[in-house]
């Protein structure tokens, strides 16, 4: 421990002890024995004695100072005054005793001469009693008081122990140094030696050392105890946020900590001395150990809620310290409320989080489903689809495009190969449609090049290309591209057009034939009459009559007219057949054409069903003939259902007959490979008599004016021409079904091409 950690009074005590003892050692070494008054040894001894005394008179005061330092905590200046007076007295006595001891012995104090005997001893006793003993006694008193008043039990014990030790040391030293020498009469035996003795207060000298040790010990124990507990407690109380107020039994406030001042808004010094009732509501029981919750006090216009503990601490038998310990709960309540709100919010947030997560999951699953639907859709599309971003990089392709073009996702096309149509869509945001012809490697070619390829029998295709910009923001845009293979459609279109043309030519020629036929019929009649009349005239005229020759000539001319008329008719009929030769075609097209034609004038009660048509079948024959047959049968069927309404069903499928098919009312159908066409109605049906005659010309069940009855007979003739057959099934009131058996074309396609 460094020297400066030792308190000043203790340091002074150590110094006093050193000088005192050093003085004694010097005295024993150099001034031992008795000395004559006035000799230098005597004077030196008295001076040494004075110096020692000058210091030891301070011992009591310094002890008290230590008490002040550690326990009493109240500094007074009396010590300095006493020291000053003591020093003066010591110096005065020392000088007088050194120079004129007789003068001292003669000092008369109210007729009493205290120094007439043993002047040195007595003066020392006097100084001891006046200046040293009061310090000792004050110290003992304060220690006792402190010990009784202290809250801290340990401190009280220390103080009591100290007081007792002090009292015993001082009492022992007093007894041995003063009482015993006086009573024993050791001093009174020789007045000479009495003057010269240096053995004064020797016990006190030793006890002072003990006292010094004791003071040091006390200081350390008490001060450290204070620092560690009482002092710490005070410090804590002063720093506490909670309020603590000490008040005595009269309700007067002794102490209030900073927390109390802060909570109540009154400074702690101004609170001191006030009544506790002025601080808290006067109705409270201040002197019982109780706890109050929710005491409302208005501070600065705001109502605060306090929780207040009152409790008592008996300090001594007579003094009691009342303590009010209080907390502002309004803040706590507010915080609790905030905490509750926050907690509720937190719970709400967690719920929200769960909900958001749910929604997120749902959205994700919807998105995944949409994506799945989209992918399925674009893969199911019967054409190529791909999608490029603004920079022309492939983003998505459907399966068809991947098969044709390879997986190009993330790649982009050579800018030079990108068509102007696609660029327009991307840069201008305009939808572009553009038909193209491509060779088998996907390279675009001209119509002429395509024709050359066709001539060589090479493969090429027709495509419809569509570039659709996805407008969003500013150009360039993302583009959706669609490529539809139109080759098959183009081929079918061509075939259909050709069939229509055939039918058209045939019908025009037939019209001409019909016209000529009507003309021939009339002209035949005319010629017939002429010939008849000529023959009659020849009969009437006598043989060899000159006119007979003229009539014979007229007859010859009429015959010639008839011949040339027949030639004309034959020429027209032959041409019609030559212009529309038999060819290979898909019969479903004819059926669909007929359906379209009859649908135009179909009564609303009749429904046509033509779902079940095999598109792959090919037959060879005259297109117009099949059209006529189907049309006739369809018209008859519709006529049969005119009143009742019903369904007209067309079917087309392949039929293999292993053996000859024999049915009533129709010629037998030989075994073979056929395209079977069924035309069924749900109309009135036919009786057997009608059935027998249905294919006779002019046979009709129609009312006069509704038809000539030529339909079925000509149909039969056309079937014969086409080498085809039919069967018929009918039930009265249920309907009729005609089955046509047309031989399938078994020639390969290349052969057909060459033929064309």
């Amino acid at each position: 421990m460094a020297v400066h950690h030792i308190p000043r009074p203790v340091r002074r005590l150590i110094l006093i002890n050193i000088i005192w003892n050093l003085g004694s050692v010097i005295g024993i070494l150099f001034f031992n024995g008795t000395h004559e008054v006035g000799t230098p040894t005597y004077i030196g001894r008295q001076i040494l004695f004075g110096i020692q005394m000058f210091f030891w008179i301070r011992t009591g005061n310094e002890c008290y100072s230590i008490g002040e330092e550690v326990a009493f905590s109240r500094h007074n200046k009396i010590r300095i005054l006493l020291n000053g007076i003591g020093s003066f007295v010591v110096v005065t006595f020392t000088i007088l005793l050194a120079i004129a001891p007789e003068a001292v012995t003669r000092i008369n104090f109210l007729g009493f001469t205290p120094f007439s005997e043993r002047p040195i001893f007595n003066s020392a006793i006097l100084i001891y009693l006046l200046f040293l003993l009061p310090g000792y006694l004050a110290t003992i008193f304060q220690l006792c008081k402190n010990g009784m008043h202290s809250i801290n039990k340990a401190a009280a014990q220390t103080s009591s122990y100290m007081a007792a030790s002090f009292a015993i040391f001082i009492a022992v030293a007093f007894a041995f140094d003063i009482i015993i020498p006086l009573l024993s009469g050791v001093l009174s035996s020789d007045s000479e030696t009495q003057i010269g003795t240096s053995q004064i207060l020797i016990w006190n000298q030793f006890m002072a050392m003990f006292l010094t040790l004791l003071c040091g010990q006390y200081y350390t124990s008490v001060s450290y105890k204070n620092k560690s507990s009482y002092w710490l407690l005070n410090k804590l109380i002063s720093r506490m946020e909670e309020g603590i107020i000490y008040f005595d039994d009269n309700g007067q406030i002794v102490h209030a900590n900073q927390g109390a001042a802060k909570l109540l808004g009154i400074s702690s010094t101004s609170m001191k001395g006030k009544s506790i009732k002025s601080v808290f509501p006067p109705s409270l029981e201040f002197f019982r150990e109780t706890v109050y919750n929710d005491i409302r006090i208005t501070i600065g216009g705001e109502i605060h809620s306090f929780k207040i503990h009152f409790f008592r601490n008996s300090q001594t038998l007579t003094t009691v310290l009342n303590i009010a310990f209080f907390v502002d709960q309004s803040k706590t309540l507010l915080l609790q409320q905030n905490l509750k709100t926050l907690n509720d919010q937190y719970v709400e947030y967690t719920h929200d989080l769960v909900r958001y997560q749910d929604r997120l999951n749902k959205e994700a699953s919807i998105k995944a489903e949409k994506e799945n639907v989209l992918n399925t859709l674009i893969n199911a599309l019967p054409f190529r689809v791909w999608y490029k971003n603004e920079q022309g990089v492939y983003q998505k392709q459907n399966q068809q495009d991947i098969e044709k073009n390879g997986a190009r996702e993330g790649a982009s096309d050579d800018p030079q190969l990108i068509s102007s149509f696609e660029r327009d869509a991307r840069d201008l945001g305009e939808v572009r449609v553009h038909p193209s012809i491509e060779d088998k490697d996907g390279k675009e070619i001209t119509q002429d090049e395509a024709n050359t390829l066709a001539k060589n029998g090479d493969v090429y295709g027709f495509f419809d290309n569509m570039y659709i910009p996805i407008i969003q923001g500013k150009p360039p845009y993302k583009t959706l591209c669609i490529k539809v293979d139109m080759t098959e459609q183009r081929r079918l279109e061509q075939e259909r057009n050709m069939l229509r043309e055939q039918k058209f030519i045939h019908s025009r020629l037939e019209e001409l034939g019909t016209m000529c036929g009507a003309f021939a019929h009339d002209y035949n009649n005319i010629l017939g009459s002429q010939i008849g009349f000529c023959q009659l005239a020849q009969e009437m005229l006598p043989e060899g009559h000159q006119a007979s020759m003229f009539i014979a000539e007229a007859l010859k001319a009429a015959q010639r007219g008839k011949t040339s008329l027949e030639e004309l008719l034959n020429a027209i009929r032959g041409n019609a057949n030559a212009a529309t030769p038999a060819m290979v075609f898909s019969p479903y097209m004819i059926i669909e054409d007929v359906v379209k034609k009859v649908a135009l004038t179909l009564p609303p009660t009749i429904v046509i069903n033509s779902q079940d048509l095999d598109h792959s079948l090919k037959i060879k024959g005259i297109v117009a003939s099949l059209d006529r047959i189907i049309s006739n049968l369809a018209n008859n069927a519709i006529f049969a259902m005119k009143k009742t309404g019903g369904t007209l069903t067309f079917k087309l499928h392949e039929q293999v007959l292993e053996k000859e098919l024999i049915t009533p009312y129709a010629p037998p159908v030989p075994a073979g490979h056929y395209a079977q066409m069924d035309i069924s109605d749900t109309g009135s049906g036919m009786d057997s008599g009608t059935l027998e005659r249905i294919f006779a010309p002019f046979f009709t069940t129609k009312a006069p004016g509704e038809g000539l009855g030529l339909g079925l007979s000509s149909a039969l003739r056309l079937l014969k021409e086409g080498n085809a057959y039919f069967t018929v099934h009918t039930t009265l009131g249920k309907g009729t079904t005609f089955n046509l058996y047309w031989p399938l074309n078994t020639e390969t396609e290349t052969e057909t091409k060459k033929e064309d």
Binding site: G513, T514, G517, A518, A520, H521, D522, N524, N525, I526, L527, G528, S529, I531, G532, F533, Q535, L536, E539, M540, A558, K562, A696, P697, F698, S713, S714
Partner: protein, 124 residues
């Protein structure tokens, strides 16, 4: 004295046949269509009826079918000058209805008169 009915929409043809048959001593009556003819043959019986096929207002087929109902098919002769299709077509159908004979126009008068004579003789 036998009576013959000639049905044709061509007046000249009617006149020609009438003259040709009257020379042979038959009584001949004519009608321009099936409707007029029906009025005649319903009130009076004829030994032979010669009819054209294609006529306005009840055609030859109806006449033939009507006469068949009257059991007069074997007294009926069908005559046709042809039309849209070959004249054979109509006459084949007429044969189907069991007429006595069919003739193409222009008619061979000798053959026709022979047939008429044959029918009358058959019913005498």
């Amino acid at each position: 004295m036998s009576t013959i009915l000639v049905i044709d929409d061509d007046e000249q043809f009617n006149l020609m046949l009438k003259s040709a048959l009257e020379i042979k001593g038959y009584t001949v009556e004519t009608a321009a269509n099936g409707k007029d003819a029906k009025a005649l043959y319903q009130n009076k019986s004829y030994d032979v009826i010669i009819t054209d096929i294609i006529m306005p207002d009840v055609d030859g087929y109806e006449v033939i079918l009507d006469l068949r109902r009257l059991n007069m098919s074997d007294r009926t002769i069908a005559v046709s000058g042809g039309g849209r299709t070959a004249a054979d077509d109509y006459l084949i159908t007429a044969q189907h209805f069991n007429v006595a004979a069919t003739f193409n126009k222009p008619v061979d008068l000798q053959a026709l008169r022979a047939k008429v004579e044959e029918i009358i003789k058959a019913h005498a």
